[in-house]
Structure formats: structure tokens, C-alpha cells
Subunit: 250 residues, 2 copies
DNA sequence: CATACCGCCATGTGATCACATTTTGGCGGA
DNA sequence: TCCGCCAAAATGTGATCACATGGCGGTATG
């Protein structure tokens, strides 16, 4: 929405679409604390709209697995476990590698130029420690490629995966930037220029693994990241307690 | 829900979840005509509930790409194009093959037995020309495998793909059953018994391709299947006209 | 007779209300 | 001091209402 590099979602004509776009951005950029319960009325008051649009936006985000509907009927960002995290990464790899390969026939010099520009923005964001812009531009870089073909099937699935990983990606981002020695985006761009599909697949997969590998150890240290009030045994104090663990893990 | 072999969705405590489950089943089994506009009030009256639960269910199905929100703000099953269809199949193959491979460590003899039972049900359904049960049991067979591990990431994505293909799968099912000479499910079961991951991948991919290949030609014959009022140039008569094409294509 | 205009009806969207359930905070007792 | 119980506040769910938009048919006009 703002200057984060996110694709400005068109057709935001209805209120619930605006709310949806805003919530989606907040989730993707990790601005919402995992485990924190989101209330309809609270968000409605915060966004200055009635409850109805918020309700529909939440429902949609639940469908995209960006949010989770607990037994309490409360909504929160689902807690992350090591198993789920590995599943998400595995899904990202197979989907995004395939999407990239299938986009290759539609790659134009113009597209490559725009991706290079976005990549420059990423590097700039990293240098300036602007994490919001970092994640947003990174997403823009990837989705720009996958959307080159009119891939109507892959993009929504990939976006769902990003939304699920986003909140936790953000929290380990400082760890990543320290280890981010090899620039996989450059490799991907080089592969694009050569129209080398196999090299592109490898670069994309490496990019996903690199950007994510260190989160695994973060997760292991904090056991179940974001496992808020719902899962634990503690009745009330668990929420803030776990949140401290999360904060510590960062 | 009924005796279709669909996994009886738990937690249908709220009304909108019941509506959602019912609509989802109707879509997956192809009971809803592609291109036909779904109205909130109409469905509400039909299901005997108020508009509110229907609204939320539709919103969720739109998020899962089972339904499409047109510019008119009307909701319908998205029309199928050859490009989108090929994307969907490609996505199904990479996701389901990977999900199957990742499920292998969790495969037990009990699971194999239950899958064999489901497969027997499939064959029975084919023999009896019970297409609803055919599709439902087929889906149960697959999701049973992918859900063996607590795969929290893959299953929702795969389900979304099934929902997108379902309405059109149904319409070409007679073509399929005629050509269904090789039993890929038997191959998959054999691979499972040998714990042969690579053979399982091959069997799953072949199953998807086999069950679907002939739909492509059906699509080609009818150009854009289900391309209702929204996409075409014709202002009003296109709806019924296209529906006739669909019916003819079956 | 064809076509453009106009008004009515159906529909989606947003807001609000009522009710059941859950959470929370405080109070009393062990 | 700690635990359990109870009342009050908060929240999700479902229903209903008001309004703006889009679709449809009838009618008047060239």
C-alpha cells in the first residue's frame, strides 16, 4: 500500500477490500504479533470502519491461512512449529521453482530490467536496515517473475505461503541479513538473461533456503514460536509469557 | 458430508461453516454450473438461513479461488481457459507429488489398508456410474495420503486446486472413465507397500495426468469453458449461449 | 420496425441490533 | 497467600435494515 514495494492491489473499491489489503500488508510485513488475538470490534475501531467489512476481511485471511480460527472462535496468527515451517518452505520451493520455470517463456528484457530495479531497491533497503521495505520489495521481486505469465493458478498459492511465513520471517530478519553473503537474486537475474531455466530454478530454490535457513534455528531455540494462549496449558498468563519468549528469540 | 466419501469437516459449529461445507461440496462435485451467478439472497433462501452466513461462506470460497468475484460484484465459478487449466494441473502435480513424498515416512500399514478400502469404493463407484461418489472418494483417497503427516501447509493448497478443477472435472468425467485403462491408484498403493517414494511420485503424477488429460481436448473444443457474461463481449445473451456450449461439450 | 431512453426490481455492501458464549476481574473462603 | 467461584464486560455470530449500484424490461421515438 505505502512505499513498501508491495503491489498496490487494484480493485479496492469496497471497504472490506481496503481492510483486507491493509491487514494483509500488516501480516506480510510482520507488524502483527503472532499469537495475539485479533478482535473484530477492535480492528473496526482502529480502522474507523464498522464491524462488517472487518469480519469479511478476517474470514478471507482465515481462508488464505494467514490467520487461524481458534476453538474460542477467536482469530490470531497461527503459531509456528518446526514441522509446519518446514512444510511451508518445502511448498514454497516446489511452487516457486515451478512457477519461475513456467514464467521463462514470457520473460522479456523489460521484465528483467524492472526486476533489476526492484533488486536494487532491495539492496538499498538492506543497507538502510529498512526491514519493511526489504520484505515488501523482496515479495515484489518474486511475484513480478511468477506473474510474468498470466499464471492464474500459482500466484495465489504462493501468496498464501508468503502470508504464513511473513510474520516469522520478520522476526528473524536481522539474523538473516548478517548471513546473507551470496546474492541469489543476482544469480536469478543472470539465469534470466541467459534464459537458463534450470539455473533459474536453482537460484530460486537457493534464495528461499538462504533467506530462511536461519529461522529454523531460531524456531528451535524458542520451541513453538507464537504458540499463544490457545495451545498452552496456562490459562491466562501464557499469552504474555509466550510473547516474551518471542521477543527474546528475536 | 453425505455418503460421497468427502471428509466430514469437523468443527461445523457455526452456521457459516455449515454453509461453507455444503457449498464446497457442491462445487467440488460439480453440481454448480460454471458461469452461473450465485446470489447471496438466493442461496440464503435455498439453504434456509439468513444472508450473513452465506456472505461469509462466499467470501471464503472466493479467497480459495473456488469462486470468482466479478466486476459486477457478482460471484460465480470462474470460467476455465486452457492456460489456467494447464497451470492448475501443473500446480497439482508438483504439490501433490511433493506432498506424497513427504508423507511417506508416516505411511503405516493401517493407512494403506484404509486407502485400499477407499480405492475399492472408487472402483465400485465407477462401475455403478456414481459420479458424485467417484469424485468424492477420489479426493478422499488423495487427501488421506497427503494428510498422513500432519501436513499443515500442503493440504489447504491442494484442496484449493481441487475446488478449482472440480466443476470441470465432473463435466468430462464420462470421457475419462472410458479411457481409464491403467489403474494408477493400484500403482500408487504398490509403491506405498514397498515404501518406494520415487515410484509413488510417478504414480501420483500419472494419476493426475491420466484423469485429466482428456479434459484438455474438451476445453479446446469449447474454447473457453464456462466463460459467462463477465468475460465475453456479448452483453446479455452470452450467459445462456455459453451455458449451451458447456452442455454440448459434455 | 429498430433503437435508445427511462424507470423498476434485484442484488451487493455497509451498519446496527440482539443474543449466546467467552473472557476477565474481583470477592470470599480455605 | 492462594484457589475457586461469580458477576460484569467483551466478543463472535446471526439477523435485519438502509442505501447505492447494476441489470432488465417496457415504452416512446425516429
Amino acid at each position: 500500500m505505502t512505499a513498501t514495494g508491495l503491489p498496490a492491489d487494484e480493485d479496492v473499491r469496497t471497504l472490506h477490500q481496503q481492510v483486507l489489503a491493509q491487514l494483509r500488508e500488516n501480516i506480510l510485513l510482520g507488524r502483527i504479533e503472532p499469537g495475539q488475538a485479533l478482535t473484530i470490534r477492535g480492528l473496526a475501531a482502529e480502522l474507523g470502519v464498522s464491524a462488517q467489512p472487518v469480519r469479511e476481511a478476517l474470514r478471507q485471511l482465515v481462508a488464505e491461512r494467514a490467520l487461524e480460527l481458534m476453538d474460542n472462535r477467536r482469530v490470531r496468527i497461527p503459531p509456528m512449529t518446526i514441522e509446519r515451517f518446514e512444510d511451508l518452505i518445502a511448498a514454497r520451493i516446489v511452487l516457486e521453482a515451478e512457477a519461475a520455470a513456467r514464467a521463462m517463456p514470457y520473460v522479456t528484457d523489460d521484465l528483467i530490467a524492472r526486476m533489476e530495479a526492484e533488486d536494487a531497491g532491495i539492496n538499498k533497503a538492506v543497507a538502510e536496515r529498512d526491514y519493511d521495505r526489504w520484505i515488501g520489495a523482496n515479495y515484489a521481486f518474486h511475484s513480478m517473475l511468477y506473474g510474468a505469465a498470466g499464471q492464474s493458478a500459482f500466484l495465489p498459492l504462493i501468496e498464501s505461503l508468503w502470508l504464513q511465513v511473513g510474520p516469522f520471517l520478520r522476526r528473524a530478519i536481522r539474523t538473516i541479513s548478517g548471513h546473507y553473503t551470496v546474492d541469489r537474486h543476482s544469480e536469478a537475474l543472470a539465469a534470466l538473461r541467459r534464459r537458463d531455466t534450470m539455473a533459474l530454478r536453482i537460484a530460486i530454490e537457493a534464495d528461499i533456503r538462504d533467506g530462511i535457513a536461519h529461522i529454523g534455528s531460531t524456531l528451535i531455540r524458542s520451541e513453538a514460536l507464537g504458540a499463544g494462549a490457545g495451545g498452552g496449558r496456562g490459562p491466562s498468563s501464557a499469552s504474555s509469557g509466550r510473547a516474551d519468549i518471542v521477543r527474546e528469540a528475536v
